[in-house]
């Protein structure tokens, strides 16, 4: 953390849909940004700087979108920058924006992330061949499915665990009007009977491809103290990365994720995440990543994650709800998805999560994003009281 405290004082989010043909890319980010400004009782003039993030440029074929989006985001005459860390970018963008405040450089920073995946095809955008390299020939899911097989083998988890997550997150999404997928009759049978795409991943074990944007207004302590808007105080932030491949790399339980969580929990004084958090929003694009990340994030011992899932501990009614918003499995505008996680936990501690509000006991929650080949991690802890208070 830096020398100053910071808080989320405005949150804005578009509804996530398979296609937003009614707006341009600028129109999409604008919707989220404007909602966040209104939430923060601010106008464009109040903002000192703008930080945007999105995933690979090949998704929409716009290089340097920050130039094109400056006027839509009120950034004319202000510092503006773009952050890029693959699928974790929504999280790292929020962290960069927050550090502009905790460092004392700015008082009010608007941060926005987005994806308009309907303009191309996400599977294509994620598997553009590289020169001289043998292509994977299996698509994005074909990269992650073998890791899931490794997890199942190592942990001895039964095959239905992933399907439980697929059902749980889609049921949660029914309470979230902004979620992309609303499948009222979702059940285990429907997931089990859905098409086997990349054995062991079935169709309903995967996330959708969405158009959507997320925006946050980050304010310095004095700005937040004067604001009538509810606050999500930022207690800790961390980012870690590692190469896609190296000798004896633990691909199931990556070192960078463990190190990131350790750093984060150290900053926030978290000793037992399952008890210390009221909920978590964690980047789970394939259902099996819930038990895998439960272990990576220290919510249980290695090999035990699937037991938490199976026991219902991560359901909205469980002792540690994971993804009460419906998560990435219900909405995935890739570049925004990490910031959606960060923003949804901010809404929880602000008491603004509507029909999927969890009960606040500790008043603290974990936001998480990952990207690339499970190699970029960004995380934050937010709380409804100032750190240490």
């Amino acid at each position: 953390m830096g020398k100053e405290l910071a808080a989320v004082i405005g949150v804005g989010q578009t509804a996530h849909r398979s296609s937003r043909k009614d707006v341009s890319m600028a129109g999409l980010v604008r919707e989220a940004a404007l909602e966040a400004l209104v939430d923060a009782n601010m106008t464009w003039k109040d903002i000192d700087a703008v930080v945007i993030g999105k995933a690979p440029d090949m998704f929409e074929g716009i290089a340097m979108p920050e130039l094109y989006l400056a006027d839509a985001l009120g950034a004319v005459g202000k510092p503006m920058m773009r952050v890029h860390t693959a699928g974790s970018v929504g999280g790292s963008t929020a962290i960069v924006a927050t550090k502009l405040v905790t460092s004392g450089v700015h008082k009010r920073v608007l941060t926005v992330s987005y994806e308009k995946q309907s303009e191309s095809n996400a599977t294509w955008g994620l598997s553009v061949p590289m020169p001289f390299s043998a292509p994977l020939v299996a698509g994005a899911g074909g990269f992650f499915a073998p890791l899931i097989r490794s997890y199942m083998h190592r942990s001895g988890a039964p095959r239905h665990i992933g399907h439980l997550v697929a059902v749980k997150d889609r049921l949660a999404a029914l309470r979230n009007p902004k979620a992309h997928l609303h499948i009222p009759d979702i059940d285990l049978k429907m997931v089990e009977e859905s098409f086997m795409l990349w054995d062991p991943i079935r169709y309903l074990d995967t996330c959708p491809s969405s158009d959507g944007a997320m925006a946050l207004v980050i304010g310095a302590e004095d700005v937040a103290d004067r604001s009538d808007s509810p606050k999500a105080w930022i207690h800790a932030m961390a980012m870690r990365s590692e190469p896609t491949m190296f000798a004896k790399r633990d691909q199931v339980n990556p070192l960078a994720g463990r190190a990131c969580a350790k750093e984060l929990y150290g900053q926030a004084g978290i000793t037992d995440p399952r008890k210390d958090f009221d909920c978590a929003e964690v980047y789970v694009p394939f259902s099996w990543f819930e038990p895998m990340w439960l272990e990576n994030l220290g919510f249980c011992a290695e090999g035990e994650g699937w037991k938490l899932t199976e026991a219902g501990a991560t359901a909205p009614s469980g002792d540690i709800p994971w993804n009460p918003s419906g998560g990435v499995l219900s909405s995935n505008p890739i570049g925004a998805s990490g910031m959606v996680r960060f923003g949804e936990v901010a809404q929880q501690v602000r008491g603004r999560a509507g029909d999927f509000q969890v009960e606040l006991k500790t008043g603290r929650a974990l936001g998480h994003a990952y990207g690339g080949g499970s190699q970029f991690f960004s995380m934050w802890v937010v709380g409804n009281r100032k750190p240490g208070a």
Binding site: A26, E119, D250
Partner: protein, 332 residues
């Protein structure tokens, strides 16, 4: 003959991006299809063309109502320009030498970039009067104006000619809401030292890797550095073309790549004998149900070897006993 060590690498979304343009640009583009150029009025009343969705000074949304738009031009004056002496066919708007010019259309307060067909650089200057040369097959894109041309003194701009691609009587032609955006980036990527070493090996039916002097870990293929230390993998090591499947998935989706075999097929991570990093490969030569973790496999080489990854077609089972779990458990 193609150089094996320089890749002709292209980035192009097949068929082009399907872009939605929003209501403000949609109105501008619909007007282009009708042979008219619209400006949008900014917060201060300035007439901005091409229109923008948000005011460039205040960032307020503009152009929400029909009366916020005014027709400008079609003629205008060149404000600044640069000369393109060697146009790139298919990339530049014209195939003859031309000027890119910033043009202030009559009635507009901003300039618009477009091409001017004026033969030689002597044919254009700041202040030159120009008018659009419209296409007849207009679709609602900025290229509906093929280019601008220089006007003689006192000449009046001609109206856009009638469209030749009008929809049939039974077809309702709605406003323009999107566009297809096609582009392609062509790169020539030279192989570095470690990639050359690896490719040369493939051409001889060998898998070459390297290791850094400070490490015992061997990286197969074109790893130029040890990913743990960043030290160059300067010591060349030949690796066996046999190994074991560590983990895998069975792909049931057709058409993921031009190189994909018929579904179902197995995409695996393979730990080659003598290497410490994982390689991706397809497993063939047995039923997909028979592929399992620890299965011993060998590279199937192409009949004609070349310094290319295509020299290894896939991996197939050797029939040897499985590798023990201890052998590969730290690589999962």
């Amino acid at each position: 003959m193609a150089n094996s060590f320089i890749a002709e690498h292209s980035l192009e979304y097949p068929g082009g991006y399907q872009r939605s343009v929003g209501p403000v640009l949609g109105r501008f583009m619909t007007a282009l299809r009708e042979g008219k150029i619209l400006a949008v009025k900014g917060v201060d009343g300035r007439k901005i063309v091409p229109p923008q969705e948000y005011d460039p000074v205040t960032s307020d949304a503009i152009g929400s109502k029909a009366e916020d738009f005014v027709e400008v031009g079609p003629a205008g004056r060149v404000v600044s320009w640069s000369w393109v002496n060697e146009p790139r066919i298919g990339k530049h708007p014209l195939s003859v030498p031309f000027a890119f010019a910033l043009i202030r259309l009559d009635g507009a307060d901003t300039t618009m970039l477009h091409a001017v067909d004026c033969g030689t650089p002597e044919g254009i200057a700041t202040g030159t009067r120009v008018a659009p040369r419209w296409r007849t097959d207009r679709v609602g894109k900025i290229t509906d104006i093929e280019c601008f041309t220089v006007m003689a003194d006192g000449e009046q701009p001609v109206l856009a000619p009638a469209r030749t691609n009008l929809p049939g009587d039974d077809t309702e032609e709605g406003d323009v809401t999107g566009m297809n955006s096609q582009f392609r980036l062509d790169y020539r990527v030279p192989a570095g030292a470690s990639t050359r070493r690896y490719l040369n090996g493939l051409g001889e039916g060998k898998i070459i890797g390297g290791r850094a002097p400070s490490s015992t870990e061997v990286y197969a293929a074109s790893r130029g550095t040890d990913p743990k230390t960043g030290e160059p993998t300067s010591i060349e090591v030949e690796i066996a073309d046999t190994g074991c499947v560590t983990t895998f998935c069975i792909v049931n989706i057709p058409g993921l790549s031009e190189l994909a075999p018929e579904i179902p097929y197995v995409s695996a991570q393979i730990l080659l004998d003598g290497a410490d990093n994982m390689m991706f490969g397809l497993i063939r030569g047995c039923a997909v149900e028979d592929v399992h973790m620890g299965m011993r496999v060998k590279a199937k080489w192409a009949d004609e070897l070349a310094p290319s990854h295509n020299s290894i077609l896939y991996y197939e089972p050797t029939g040897e006993p499985d590798a023990p779990y201890e052998h590969y458990k730290d690589n999962l």
